[in-house]
């Protein structure tokens, strides 16, 4: 069965790059422009993996993480943070909010797929 990935980023170029890469690898991709949008979409789709940026308007990635983890369907699915913040503070906050792991920007499509494969095969 095709796996569905929710890609959340306020930057359209990043979002498209991610979506294009993942679609090319056979995944279904749902795009969201910020945390609020992602949360709305999360309620409408069955998602196998969430990739989220951290710094976003309206609702940031950390808040999104917290909110998603409160949803029954999202308690145990992998959620990865995509972020230029490689500082440990952010990682710690991400972990506290329920992130599965992180991927540091910039990354290339190959790296992205490598991580995604590791998480959902």
């Amino acid at each position: 069965m095709t796996k569905t990935i929710l890609a959340v980023d306020d930057s359209a170029s990043m979002r498209q790059m991610v979506a294009f890469t993942l679609k090319g690898a056979g995944y279904e991709v749902i795009e969201a422009v910020d945390g609020q949008d992602a949360l709305d979409k999360a309620n409408h789709y069955k998602v196998n993996l969430v990739l989220t940026d951290i710094n976003m308007p309206r609702m940031d990635g950390l808040k999104l993480l917290e909110m998603l983890r409160q949803l029954a369907d999202y308690k145990s699915i992998p959620i990865l943070m995509l972020t230029t913040e490689s500082s440990n503070d952010i990682k710690a906050q991400g972990k506290a909010a329920g992130a599965t792991g992180w991927l540091v920007k910039p990354f290339d499509p190959k790296r992205l797929l490598e991580v995604v494969h590791k998480v959902i095969g």
Binding site: D10, S11, A12, S13, M14, Q16, M17, F20, T21, G24, V33, D34, G35, D37, D53, I54, N55, M56, P57, R58, M59, D60, L62, K63, R69, K75, S76, I77, P78, I79, T84, E85, S86, S87, N88, D89, K91, A92, Q93, G94, K95, G98, A99, T100, G101, W102, L103, V104, K105, P106, F107, D108, P109, K110, R111, L113, E114, V115, K118, V119
Partner: protein
Amino acid sequence: MSTDLEQFYEIFFEESSELLAEMEACLLGLDVSSPDLEDLNAIFRAAHSIKGGAGTFGFTDMTEMTHMLETLLDRLRKGELEVRSEMVDAFLRAGDVIKGQLAGHRGDGAADPVATAAVCEELRKFSEAIYASNETADITTVKITDSAEVKSITSEVNDATGAAALNVNPALTVFSIAFSNEGVSPRAMDNLLSNLGGMGSLEKLILSGDEQRSKLLLKTNSSEEDIWEALAFVVDPANLKIAAEILMSTDADTLTPDPTDEFEAVPSLSGPPYGFFPGAPAAPNDIENIENSAATTGSGRQVTSSHPVAQQKDDKAAATAAETSSIRVSIDKVDQMINLVGELVITQAMLAQTASQVDPVIYERLLSGMNQLERNTRDLQESVMSIRMMPISFVFSRYPRVVRDLAAKLNKQVELKTVGENTELDKGLIEKIADPLTHLVRNSLDHGIEIPEKRIVAGKSAKGTITLRAFHQGGSIVIEVCDDGAGLNREKILAKAKERGISLLDGMSDQEVWMLIFEAGFSTAEVITDVSGRGVGMDVVKRNIQSMGGRIEIDSAFGVGTRISIRLPLTLAILDGLSVAVGDQMFIVPLTYIIESLQPTASDIKTVSGHGCVVQVRGEYLPVIALHEIFNLRPHSTEIHNGILVILEAEGHKAAMFVDALIGQHQVVIKSLESNYRRVQGVSGATIMGDGKVALILDTAALVMASQKESVK
């Protein structure tokens, strides 16, 4: 999997331009004395987003610049340093540099290397100032932000998959390593230290009062991941921190971090490219187990901070400016859609005309369906047209910068106010209005607003005000540039016009005198200062506005100020018009010019010296425009009192247009005559009527002006 990143360049360029504009707007709006956290967050986020994209797409020059910005902004938004107006200036210049870099990547320009270096230096100084003022940090920490970047590039190169193949040699890096000693036997510790020692030169730092924590400095050309491998099996990764501190090849010797430095204070250092948290939901479990982790495990790469710092509130506060989801569509597609809807409107009108001839009793359902179709078509047309509409803030947003820079250059104090930024107009007009408006704003600042001393003498506040205002009026949008400056000087303008050889009439109204500044040759000589720009005169402004179907008006009071109003059609594509018939031809008169229509009596009409007529309307004598004469047509009647007069007003002048009959009021889709033919005198375009025939749209302003000249003669 080969993904060609180039396909995303264009969207990245557009996005970055928008972010830069946003950043600039926020910076210009920033109240330096009490900066709004939301503004700082927005500025930070813009820099941050550009950096992310630039990094991904390999535009390293932009990454570096945005990184410096981001670092400084991060400190500002966290309240670690006060915003100063010099910083805002530096940020603005940094924005310019990034714009230049962006243009360079787009292939139309380049960043000025001198400016780039200057801005870098400036940002660096601010960063240094931060640390100088912060006793717990080392002054050299500023370099760390740079090296973090270089470090990440280095690890890219080390990585076989690193697509951004940059010519950076693996360099010596100082990593600061901190971990908890808890549960680590002395033997394991010795072993660990000797392993690390084998990778480079190791320095052990003593942390006062904390026996449980170790802190090491390792100078090595090994990658961070190698260090992780060495440590992860011995130390609880949850309590391990590795951070790249300094690139050795630069200032190695001067950069010994202060041992009292609190570890968490080291800013944004790069870690491994990705990782998973032990115990986190759904972390992959096919990777080697690590002792203390109960259910889930991570690779040897995981990182968690042993001292989470509570900055969440800042990140939460970052969620402000609402962004509505949108899609990008090429303007060609939109225009094609507008054309098609235009066709649909015409077809619908044709059907309606045919349907109007059937028996309404028998075809009741057909007719109600036709009514429905008409409503739906109108709604569809309106919503399609609205796609092209954009708020004028897209144009207004560039002026704070223009005013700021120019005011500084001229030693004037000016405040820019904008009103009605959300007024929408056609995208085509948005693009075209920007240049003329810039010229007017510069002109107001240069010639309108006085220097502070003069203003004070005149009893005004030292700071002048320029107001940009946009609003809808009828079927037009009006854009005003007002200043509370010196106002126009009638005598001076007349004298200068005479000097320039511009023909003058006796008894010109103020309006007419003011309009002289838009005459070709009037303004050029004085305007070729480096301020009012590129030797382009006000006549070009007027011509540009007119080519958009717009008009310019000036009001001015000497000593009080000047207001220049631009009146534009709402859209380039649709017009509200009155159809009139002359003989067997039909013309469209734009409604905006029409005051009223009336059937004159023979006694109202006077022939002036055997040539041309005037008609008396409400006590005024108006020249008559006989359309059949202008267009060489055979009218039903040449007697004016047998036809209809449409009273027009354009550029402050009135005239009465004589036609056979009024047909009706329509919203028409404007089509160009020039795309396949040429300009026709007295005609501004064409449209297609309900019966499929072409009707010409009258260039009303030109006709009225021509009638004025006629009557003056």
